[in-house]
């Protein structure tokens, strides 16, 4: 669309920053590299705000309905006449919203890292990777078609891989990065096959065509089957596998806790606020197809989301590592978003959709805040283990306050942001599925509990740190403050007007029948946590020993990692790869060698024919001649 082509610059500016820093790595001083990165992302942010605000408040609506606008498009690779990968930028409520989220969090993380990463040897490398990530993530949300999305999806995965493995001489970091990439890659396989399947039947990758309720995608392929299953459901489920991988849904979640090996700002940006919600974004992007053509797939989404929310919340209650607790909490919250999408309907019944997006929006603020706060803490105390912290509120007041705000927000206490979005989610769930509502409700309590467990362990309790940790520099605290403000006000954004499943306004109000109990259970959680962890006591250990097996299982993350290890190391490596390698060497190759050996053997065997004795030669001669006579006479 004319006048909006500059939208494409939003992702491209960080990309150029990446190229410049990457190529001139040697010659640029780290400071300059950092400045380039920060300038780049700030420029993107300004553009993104301009575009997003413009979209929401000036040109986005036609007759009160938000349109999907193709701001820019160029064909990149042509497969067939209709299947074309185009590079472009789509503008619609969710992409505009995501632009805001990503650029905001990114710029804050970029700035925060200036302080956090100070003096690290890979400073400029860090900014290069961060810029690459921002490029990929922005490209992902702006994708106009499935394949473009897949491309950036992969790029995001790689940036995540590079950043998790940032401390590449640490074995744990290397293993974590590898794990993250391979697990998500496995999930992406589902995504890719889903794309292939869907595009084969619809003949297009284009989101606009796919999601058009009257378009060929939804209407014409309903009856088609592939290997006995409805094509649309199957392909959407496969695509959802991709989303589940990236968004760490059970059972593809195992990479996320390990990914905390990366620098904390990375965890904040990638593994809390932006990349991990890509799966939610993907489902939201294809939501009309889900809603119209494959409601059963949507149901799967809901159950997976609900289960993950619960599962991760339980695990989070037991973890000793501050970042891992946050990681499980992220999983749990994303499960919430998935759940919301899963229970949603389209149009009038689209509360879940809006709620999900709303939660995505608010979650980005408070979860980024939590991570950056955790980073600030780790920066000060140099450990991740919450049992080694305590009493930090005196030393780090700003961090303390902002962290508290974030905890309140995630616990769903009004008027913090989390309250509003969580309320809508639970309301949507209540309407559609009681079981899922129950789970969501329980998770709300658990969330409050484990967040405040964390909070009290770190900031109250007794100080176990020797010496006096000090507050982080202002380049780190200012982003915290900004995010804290965001966590306070984000809840008041009128999402029902801006982001809805069909683009038009969704009538909604505060659901007190849901809000009151959920706030109550949140408060209960907080109180329980306060009782147990505010001061040093033996309550927690008593409780854990009384829970016995369940606690142990939760502490060990329900042994999912072990199952994976078994499958990969034992089954794939030892039972498949090794035998194949052996088979190749000792059967197939040996067969080729054997033909050579056989030839040699035959050669050795017939050497007596040439005996050196003249009269034997004559015998061969004569019998040869006679043989041919017989042969020819017989054949005649």
């Amino acid at each position: 669309m004319p006048g909006l082509e500059h939208t494409i610059l939003i992702p491209l500016i960080p990309f150029f920053a990446f190229l410049v820093i990457g190529l001139l790595n040697k010659t640029l001083s780290p400071k300059v590299a950092g400045m380039i990165g920060i300038t780049g992302i700030l420029a993107s942010t300004i553009l993104a705000y301009q575009v997003a605000l413009g979209y929401f408040f000036s040109f986005g609506q036609v007759d009160g309905v938000f349109q999907k606008i193709i701001a820019y498009k160029t064909s990149w690779l042509q497969f067939t006449d209709s299947l074309v990968i185009e590079m472009g930028a789509i503008l619609d409520p969710i992409s505009a919203m995501m632009l805001v989220v990503i650029t905001t969090v990114s710029s804050l993380v970029f700035i925060y890292s200036w302080g956090y990463m100070k003096g690290e040897s890979g400073f400029s490398r860090f900014y290069a990777f961060l810029s690459l990530f921002s490029f990929s993530m922005l490209g992902l949300v702006l994708a106009t078609n499935l394949f473009q999305m897949y491309m950036f999806w992969e790029l995001v995965g790689v940036s995540s891989y590079l950043l998790i493995g940032f401390y590449y001489d640490k074995a744990a970091a290397v293993a974590a990065s590898k794990k993250a990439f391979i697990v998500t890659r496995f999930a992406d396989l589902g995504f890719l096959i889903g794309i292939l399947l869907l595009s084969f039947h619809t003949g297009t990758f284009d989101f606009q065509l796919l999601t058009d309720p009257n378009g060929p995608a939804i209407t014409s392929v309903g009856g088609a089957t592939f290997m006995g299953l409805s094509v649309v459901s199957l392909s959407l489920l496969l695509i959802f596998i991709g989303g589940a991988g990236k968004s760490a849904m059970f059972p593809l979640h195992i990479w996320l806790p390990d990914a905390m090996e990366g620098p904390t700002p990375v965890s904040a940006l990638i593994h809390a606020a932006t990349m991990v919600v890509a799966g939610v974004y993907l489902v939201a992007r294809l939501f009309p197809v889900f809603a119209f053509a494959a409601p059963e797939a949507l149901e799967v989404v809901a159950y997976i989301g609900a289960f993950t929310a619960l599962f991760a919340a339980v695990v989070a209650c037991t973890q000793p590592d501050i970042k891992r607790v946050l990681a499980y909490s992220t999983m749990s919250q994303i499960g919430y978003m998935m759940l919301a999408l899963g229970v949603s309907g389209f149009g009038e019944d689209g509360l879940g959709y809006t709620a999900s997006m709303f939660h995505l929006f608010t979650h980005a603020f408070f979860k980024a805040l939590l991570f950056l706060g955790a980073g600030s803490i780790i920066h000060a105390v140099h450990t991740n283990d919450i049992f080694k912290m305590g009493g930090l509120r005196k030393f780090m007041p700003i961090t303390h306050i902002t962290f508290l705000i974030a905890c309140l927000a995630i616990a769903g206490i009004p008027p913090f942001a989390g309250f509003f979005s969580k309320d809508e989610i639970l309301a949507a769930a209540l309407v559609s599925n009681k079981l899922i509502f129950g789970v969501g409700f329980a998770v709300a309590g658990l969330t409050a509990f484990y967040m405040f467990r964390l909070y009290f362990m770190v900031f109250w309790n007794e100080a176990k740190i020797e010496g006096a940790p000090h507050e982080s520099p202002s380049v780190m605290t200012i982003p915290l403050i900004i995010l804290a403000i965001g966590s306070l006000v984000a809840g008041f954004v009128p999402f029902n007007e801006l982001v809805t499943s069909n683009g038009s306004l969704l009538a909604t109000e505060l659901h007190w029948e849901v809000a009151a109990p959920s706030v109550a259970i949140g408060l209960i959680g907080i109180v329980v946590a306060m009782v147990m962890y505010r001061k040093a006591s033996n309550l927690p250990s008593k409780l854990s020993s009384s829970l016995g097996g369940i606690y142990k299982a939760a502490y060990s993350k329900f042994y999912i990692d072990e199952v994976y290890m078994f499958v990969t190391k034992k089954v794939i490596f030892n039972l498949i790869s090794r035998p194949i390698a052996w088979f190749d060497r000792n059967i197939i190759d040996a067969f080729m060698d054997m033909t050579a050996k056989m030839t040699n053997l035959v050669s050795e065997g017939i050497k007596e024919m040439q005996s050196g004795q003249l009269h034997y030669y004559a015998i061969y001669f004569a019998s040869g001649a006679i043989l041919f006579v017989v042969l020819m006479l017989w054949m005649r």
Binding site: K607, E608, Q610, S611, G612, Q613, L614, H615, A618, I619, A622
Partner: protein, 105 residues
């Protein structure tokens, strides 16, 4: 043409001679006897040629000429062969064919 002796009889004789020659070549260990065996083969051929010419194609003389040439060449061949036998005998002190097997396999 010899009265009363059909061609087949002559051919039988020549064939027997031929195979005796072959047999001799194969079984004899003495190089000279082997050479003599080849002469036997050649003589069988000569009989053939002459007989065919005389019995079947009496108007031309090709067979006769051929046998004459064969006799001449057999002599040449024998000359060269015996010369080589002598050379071999100088080296090996033997003209037994079974001793002549340093080149093999």
């Amino acid at each position: 043409m010899i009265e009363g002796v059909p061609l087949s009889h002559i051919l039988v004789v020549s064939s027997i001679m031929f195979f005796v020659g072959v047999y001799g070549f194969v079984t004899r260990k003495n190089l000279l006897t082997m050479l003599i065996s080849t002469e036997l083969i050649l003589n069988a051929v000569n009989i053939n040629f002459v007989a065919f010419n005389r019995y079947l194609y009496p108007d031309k003389m090709e067979g006769h000429f051929f046998s004459l040439f064969i006799i001449a060449i057999a002599a040449a061949e024998a000359a060269v062969a015996i010369a080589i036998f002598i050379s071999l005998y100088r080296n090996l002190k033997s003209i037994d064919v079974e001793d002549v097997d340093s080149l093999k396999h």
